[in-house]
């Protein structure tokens, strides 16, 4: 790098202010974490930013959740657009509107303009996921809503403090539409105070360095990130890469995966994403609005450039084209609340795949997607008589990597800083007892480097009344996939009373399913997809996985062709049968291309006869079934096989 630093600031002042801005933003985040009321925020679903007077992001927090990346400048700009000159010292604004660049209603942004000597110089923004925004279901995730009216409170840019005066009536009209309004007022206060902390810090910097220097630094920190990004991109070969990932289905349509197409072009110093050809928006809330889709592309890119700071300079070198009226650019008033389990992580994983080709040393197969189960009702335990919300999300497996297995049981890619909740805390707050919270054997997508393992969490409902259960996730059909020859992991979906006679598979999106005392429920999170041909996996690594029960002896043979004999499990004594392994691998190598061609009806028939199991269907035959009816899905299977041929078969020798 021979480029000379082009700056009006000396290098020291520049570096000091750049780090000072990071510090200031992180300080806002830290304060929110310590004073918030929403447990979702407390578990780290929040982000903060310093934006300049035009709304452009100067710096975003280092611990921010990925899903908000690249959307904070949009909401700051929405405030500017609506209020123009009518913005004054002491004002504070609130906005959560996904059709104006927000993500979903729960992500509520508090924006404080900062003035110096009467001049508007910046906006401090803190965005937090409020636990409830009203609407027809607790938590405001109604899978049955097709438009936003049923989902919750939509807040366009609204002034909530005017010249220092708290507009109590405005705040009340907002929170009166939400469950547990006093908690929401607590969050509002927490976020507003945090932006105040940011303001104080910024004023201190101005008093020390002078306004001109700070304003120059605002611009130069963005230029710096742009320059850094361009330099890194310029070092990469030009080219065009494309792939498709899928949402399970449009519930209104039935059989058929919903394609999300991502084409990436690297040209010179810039990156262009084009999502043209993606499906029209669908009849459930898994769509995403434009802000979230752009965020997915930015976050997917950033994963391959982990040390570039985030601000609007980055967005100047990365361009995203989103087709109108599509599942990745849903217009008002189409429902988008479930975007995170839907379109968002599809775009992100597609980006991971594309970048894996460009930077194989940082490759990453598909990771499990966000899933959350919500049980709401009346707690009737002795001493309790209140509404409870058991709102739960799990860790799961991440994709296989270059020379390394995927991470077991990690938070979802939309925010690996998002904590899962302690069962003991949940058991205090709700009449639900967790019966297991454990890693699932054989959940990892097979590969030379396997995916990480997924988790299963099951529970039983105790004393309660009027209780319902809702679920939001995806990938029961578009199963978490492998790359470079790796195989898919396991399908999602929740069960009610699984081991009882009236056991029911409820699928991946449902709401308001009635449950009563004594009902049990369980659901898995998927493992990550595998990377590389599983037949090339070191048998010793398979053996270690068998000892730890990450992989069963049966699937060691079926997925990896490694034949392991148990000698004495109590003391971890197993043996690899070298000869049988050779033969088994030979057999699979010869047969597997044919399996992907085999007639779907025959395969489903054999599955029903018990000759083959669900993992065989997915990993060997590429056949997708409706788990409720146990019938084959011809169109979905065809799409899935097409995909497996590109991602897996093409790499097999």
């Amino acid at each position: 790098m021979s480029k000379v630093f082009e700056s009006q600031l000396d290098p020291v002042t520049f570096e000091v202010l750049k780090n000072g801005f990071v510090n200031l933003v992180d300080q806002m985040s830290e304060q929110v974490l310590r004073t918030c009321y929403s447990f979702v925020i407390y578990n780290r679903d929040f982000s903060s930013a310093l934006c300049d007077a035009n709304g452009n992001t100067v710096m975003q927090g280092t611990q921010d959740i990925s899903v908000h990346v690249g959307t904070l400048h949009l909401t700051a700009k929405a405030v500017i657009e609506d209020f123009g000159d009518d913005i004054h010292p002491g004002d504070v604004f609130i906005i959560n509107d996904p059709y104006r660049g927000g993500t979903h209603f729960n992500d509520t942004r508090i924006i404080r303009p900062v003035f110096y000597d009467g001049q508007l110089i910046a906006f401090m923004q803190v965005n937090g996921h409020w636990a409830d925004m009203g609407g027809s279901v607790p938590g405001s995730f109604d899978v049955n809503s097709k438009d936003h009216y049923g989902e919750g409170m939509r807040i366009p840019p609204v002034r909530i403090w005017s010249k220092g005066e708290y507009l109590k009536d405005v705040a009340n009209v907002l929170v009166a539409n939400m469950r547990v309004p006093e908690e929401r007022l607590g969050d509002l206060r927490s976020q507003a105070e945090a932006t105040k902390t940011g303001e104080t810090q910024l004023i201190a910097l101005i008093e020390k360095y002078g306004l001109d220097t700070i304003l120059t630094a605002f611009a130069e920190v963005q230029d710096y990130v742009e320059r850094l990004t361009r330099a890194k991109v310029a070092a990469l070969p030009d080219g065009e890469w494309e792939t498709t990932d899928y949402i399970d289905m449009d519930p209104e349509e039935g059989d058929g995966l919903i394609p999300i197409k991502v084409k990436m072009t690297i040209k010179g110093e810039e990156i262009f994403y084009d999502l043209s050809g993606s499906h029209k928006y669908i009849g459930c809330f898994l769509n995403s609005a434009f802000g979230s889709s752009m965020s997915a592309a930015y976050a997917g890119t950033k994963t391959f450039f982990p040390d570039i700071p985030l601000n609007s300079g980055f967005y100047r070198a990365v361009h995203v084209e989103l087709p109108e009226d599509s599942v990745v650019n849903a217009p008002w008033p189409v429902a988008v609340t479930g975007f995170c389990s839907g379109a968002y992580e599809k775009i992100m994983n597609a980006c991971f795949e594309l970048w894996s080709h460009i930077m194989p040393e940082r490759a990453l197969a598909c990771s499990f997607n966000l899933e959350y189960l919500l049980i709401g009702g009346w707690d009737q335990r002795s001493g309790y008589n209140n509404y409870f919300m058991w709102y739960d999300w799990m860790a799961g497996g991440h994709g296989g990597r270059h020379e390394r297995d995927g991470a077991n049981a990690l938070s979802p890619v939309f925010g690996v800083g998002l904590s899962i909740q302690p069962c003991e805390g949940q058991e205090r707050l709700s009449p639900v007892i967790t019966t297991k919270h454990e890693i699932v054997t054989d959940s990892a997508g097979p590969g030379q480097f396997r995916g990480g393992c997924g988790v299963e969490k099951g529970g039983i409902l105790t004393d309660s009344n009027d209780t319902v259960m809702s679920y939001c996730c995806d990938r029961s059909r578009s199963v978490t996939w492998g790359i470079f020859g790796g195989l898919p992991s396991t399908p999602h979906g929740a069960w009610l009373n699984k081991d009882k006679e009236d056991g029911q598979f409820l699928g991946t999106i449902f709401s308001n399913v009635k449950v009563k005392k004594g009902d049990t429920f369980t659901r898995p999170s998927a493992g990550g997809g595998g990377l590389g041909d599983p037949l090339d996996r070191d048998p010793q690594a398979v053996l270690e996985d068998v000892i730890d029960e990450y992989v069963s002896i049966e699937r060691a043979k079926k997925d990896y062709g490694v034949v392991i004999r148990e000698i004495d499990r109590e003391i971890d004594l197993f043996e690899i049968d070298e000869e049988a392994t050779k033969a088994e691998r030979q057999f699979i190598r010869q047969a597997r291309i044919g399996w992907l061609e085999e007639d779907i009806h025959n395969v489903v028939e054999r599955y029903r006869n018990g000759e083959i199991d669900q993992l065989d269907l997915i990993r060997r035959y590429g056949v997708i079934i409706d788990q409720v009816t146990n019938t084959g899905l011809p169109k979905t299977t065809e799409q899935n096989r097409e995909m497996m041929k590109k991602r897996s078969l093409a790499y097999w020798t």
Partner: protein, 696 residues
């Protein structure tokens, strides 16, 4: 025969020894190489080097990295976890989070106990403590048979909700103890009876994997010390900032997961008090990293949110230390965007800074300090020579040429960026927590602290900087300055507005029984026992808590509630008198006071001129470049002398920079106190002088 107190801080590279002569009050310090494979050897070497025999030692206290090293290197005994059916993976699933949000290749460490060694039993307790399922004895005996076959040496037992009712855990321990009498076994309810299964399980596991290691270590050390004639207790520092004796070490092994790191914080507290300050920030800057601590109103900040490796929390209260990757060896570089960066990569001990001539070609902070004349070319009384040319070349090639700077401007820029990074860290622990740095003194020590301390203070408007007499061994000294300390904690949920004070008093009395018995085990006489009560509180609906003291015995909660409001306002800039307040946890801090050394005050002798070693040109931007600067030998500077910068003060293990515009004073304990604005900060010192009297 003279009597000595000996404190030892065992570090990764060096073992520091601090000897205090009880009769004369004089101090002797030395360093030996650490011997990680049998750490007691390095200590005995140090004692031998000090020419002491065991019978001359009246007190032996130390900080050790035995626990830290064992964890990081996974050199752990064959250990097993026994937990409730369905929950063996809690320690692997953790909270699911990663420290590095963006780098998919920067992984969380592996669990301390592998999945194959995690076992389940049928049992269940609910949230209220009711036993839903009793322990099945036959099943546990069968498990014992398997564990014996697996030659397990240590067992952690952690059941769901055992923090409310530990009966099932105790029963399983009993049975396993019968079957495997020689195996180390600890339960979560006796280790840390607090809510949240992952945090409690993680703490219990750390306790179990370290239990056999630190027990054995203490036994060996005790044996060796007896052999050389030492009769007293072996005191070992724990992360909470107190010492334990060998009696309680096995039970609270996890508190030794980070032993030495608290020593620096304790030393800085003591040194600040000695100089009359009750608010201080400790800055322990070494070669690769800097540890920062904060004391406010004589209390070091405590956290329960700490770990040796991210993802595996240790729930015992611990002195809050912020560690950043900035030290003398931090590398300076220009990134692809053209920005001048400093660290976190470090040249380490090998190749080290370019001036060490061990093959390093990248510039470090040490190189920049050398080029600016702040460091001399001869260190450690001439035992080590630095190559200034090599430093200049490294800075020229890596930084100066790319910024169009001359080498001196570039070196100055490197130091400024390094200082700015450290200031950011100082802000994290002060401003971000609601503390105004202008109310604090900065205690700068470690190998590199004194080089940077004054400039950091200037930037942060910290009025006073203290450089202790022996900055390189301050942490070892810290080990002599602590009391025996235990913390008894408990999850306890109640509404602060409606709880009966009798009920709360009863809870505390029960906890204090345990606290007193711990102190008794340590051999503390009743008159030296001191119990302090804390409650963790939060506004109803909030998630995080703040810890405040309550009266003993309890007359009313009013004071505590007001302290909570005040603390919330201080830290977060707002309070809410309307909101209800909830009690979340209780803690009793049990302190067994240990006699502290009384350091001698010195009388002035000699003159400042006699201490002048040389003058050399040193670069200070505020002076417009290089200026002729006096270089003093610290040992020869008379106490109570006072002089203005620019000046350099050399001593065996450290170099002190006194920038222009800064005055330096040497107090009667040979601490050097620097300040930029004369007179500022004097008020606080006056106000706090009583404290220092009390301390001694």
């Amino acid at each position: 025969m003279s009597k000595y107190r000996v404190a030892v801080d065992v570090g990764g590279t060096f073992t520091d020894v601090f000897v205090f002569d009880e009769e004369t009050g004089s101090i002797y310090v030395t360093k030996t190489s650490s011997t990680p494979s049998n750490p007691e050897k390095g200590m005995l070497d140090g004692i031998a080097k000090a020419k002491l025999t065991g019978d001359q030692i009246t007190m032996f206290s130390h900080g050790t990295t035995v626990g830290t090293n064992a964890l990081i290197e996974r050199k752990l005994p064959k250990a097993a976890l026994v937990t409730t059916k369905g929950f063996r993976d809690v320690t692997e699933i953790r909270r699911g989070t990663k420290l590095d949000l963006w780098d998919a290749y920067n992984d969380v460490a592996e669990p301390y106990i592998k999945r194959r060694d995690r076992f389940e039993v049928t049992e269940r307790v609910d949230y209220s403590g009711e036993i839903l399922e009793e322990v099945n004895e036959a099943e546990v005996r069968e498990l014992a048979r398997v564990l014996k076959r697996r030659q397990v040496e240590s067992i952690a037992i952690c059941f769901m909700n055992a923090y409310v009712n530990g009966k099932n855990e105790r029963r399983v321990k009993e049975i396993l103890k019968e079957e495997m009498p020689d195996v180390y076994i600890c339960t979560s309810s006796e280790t840390l009876p607090e809510i949240f299964e992952h945090e409690r399980m993680s703490t219990t596991i750390v306790n179990a994997v370290l239990g056999p290691i630190v027990s054995k270590y203490i036994q060996v050390l005790e044996g060796e010390m007896k052999e050389i004639g030492y009769q007293g207790d072996i005191l070992v520092l724990h992360s909470g900032g107190g010492v334990m004796t060998s009696e309680t070490v096995p039970r609270y092994a996890a508190r030794l997961a980070s032993s030495g790191i608290a020593a620096g914080a304790i030393a800085s507290k003591y040194i600040a008090n000695m100089c009359g300050f009750k608010n201080a920030i400790g800055l322990d800057m070494g070669g690769t990293s800097t540890d920062i601590s904060l004391m406010y109103d004589n209390d070091l900040r405590i956290t329960k949110d700490w770990y040796i490796e991210y993802g595996y929390p240790i729930g015992f209260p611990s002195i809050e230390i912020l560690t950043i990757g900035a030290g003398g060896g931090s590398l300076s570089w220009i990134d692809e965007g053209g920005s001048l960066r400093n660290g976190p990569q470090s040249a380490g001990a090998v190749p080290g800074p370019a001036c060490y001539k061990l093959g390093g070609t990248e510039p470090t902070n040490t190189d920049a300090n050398l080029v600016l004349g702040r460091l001399g070319t001869s260190l450690l009384d001439g035992q080590m020579t630095l190559d200034k040319e090599a430093s200049m070349k490294a800075i020229e090639n890596t930084v100066a040429s790319k910024l169009n700077y001359n080498v001196h401007e570039a070196a100055d820029a490197i130091i400024k960026v390094a200082n700015a990074n450290m200031c950011d860290a100082l802000r994290l622990i002060s401003v971000r927590r609601g503390y105004d740095p202008r109310d604090f003194a900065l205690v700068a020590f470690g190998g590199a602290g004194a080089l940077h301390g004054a400039e950091l203070a200037k930037e942060m408007e910290i009025p006073n900087v203290i450089i202790p007499a022996h900055p390189g061994v301050a942490a070892a000294m810290g080990c002599l300055l602590v009391d025996v300390r235990h913390d008894v904690t408990k999850t306890f949920l109640a509404d602060a507005g409606s709880i009966k004070k009798e009920e709360l008093e009863q809870e505390f009395v029960e906890m204090e029984k345990e606290a007193i018995s711990l102190l008794e085990e340590e051999g503390i006489a009743p008159e030296n026992m001191n119990l302090i009560r804390y409650v963790d509180m939060r506004y109803v609906g909030q998630w995080r808590t703040l810890s405040v003291t309550v009266d003993r015995p309890l007359h009313s909660l009013e004071n505590a509630v007001e302290r909570f409001h005040q603390e919330h306002e201080r830290e977060f800039a707002f309070r809410d008198n309307e909101k209800g307040i909830e009690i979340y946890g209780l803690r009793v801090e049990a302190v067994g006071t240990v006699r502290k050394p009384e350091f001698n005050k010195e009388e002035p002798s000699g003159t400042l001129e006699e201490a002048l070693k040389e003058t050399r040109d040193v670069y200070f931007e505020e002076s417009g470049g290089f200026v002729e600067t006096a270089v003093y030998d610290r040992t020869k500077i008379p106490v109570l002398s006072e002089f203005a910068g620019p000046a350099i003060i050399d001593q065996l293990d450290s170099t002190i920079v006194v920038p222009p515009g800064c005055t330096a004073k040497v107090d009667e304990y040979r601490n050097i106190i620097m300040s930029f604005v004369k007179g500022k900060g004097e008020d606080e010192r006056e106000a706090a002088s009583t404290i220092s009297t009390l301390m001694n």
